[in-house]
Amino acid sequence: MIAYLLIITLVLMLSIVVGLVRVAIGPTPSDRMMAAQLMGTSGIGVILLLAPVVEVSALIDVALIFALLAAVAVAAFTRRRVTESGG
Amino acid sequence: MIATQLLYVGCGILLLILGLWSFLVHPPLLRKLIAINVMGAGVFHILVAIAYRGIDTPPDPVPHALVLTGIVVAVSATALALAFGQRLDRDDDR
């Protein structure tokens, strides 16, 4: 069971690496934001899957903070751009 | 367990060296701040790796307390440095 969870975790880490490559090569800021969103979601998944592996159930709270932070981050990036393009 | 500790301590040392190099080489204030933060992350990384005691035993709490204090101090120092930088820019413009 634990080994299976670790395999799933490895797949999600692969998805984080893909997001990192997208953030690095761009080409547009939209792509960077999308890749950041994918990295955040995969990070939440990895933390949730690690909770039974290392037997720390408090990790679910950490994932909750990650989810809140992702929402705030996307809103902050987009708001900044709208005000900037307005003037 | 020893192998895991070695891996993460080595990673922390590499982060420390990378941050130091970037701090010495790149002149802009923001890049120096990012470099200092990466250096601090390397130190925290080493401390947390030392506190690790295997996947089924609770870790050592003392380094964790040190790192928790360190994170807060690092954020405060970053904010102070950014405020100083803003003040310097404004005085340059005048």
Partner: protein, 98 residues
Amino acid sequence: MTIIEILSLVLLGTGAFFFLAGSIGLMRMPDRFTRLHALTKADNVGLGLIVLGLMPLAPDVRDALKLGLIWILVAVAGATGAHLIAKRAVRDDGEDSH
């Protein structure tokens, strides 16, 4: 291995497949909108299936409810973010214009 565990294994595997498909799409799709399409599948369906698969393994009911809350938060944030990104890309304003 009980029937619940097998069910959760299948759900976790399907979720990982959606993440894999989403990241391949993000890498290989030709333009922004198709990439956004691939990303939202990984975000909503992938994490939803993984949360569903982890729920039976949670130690008590409170943790299972927290897992559900996380998924709702991520779904709302993902939908809002995808909408904002797509709106910016449609208007083609700012630095997106190339």
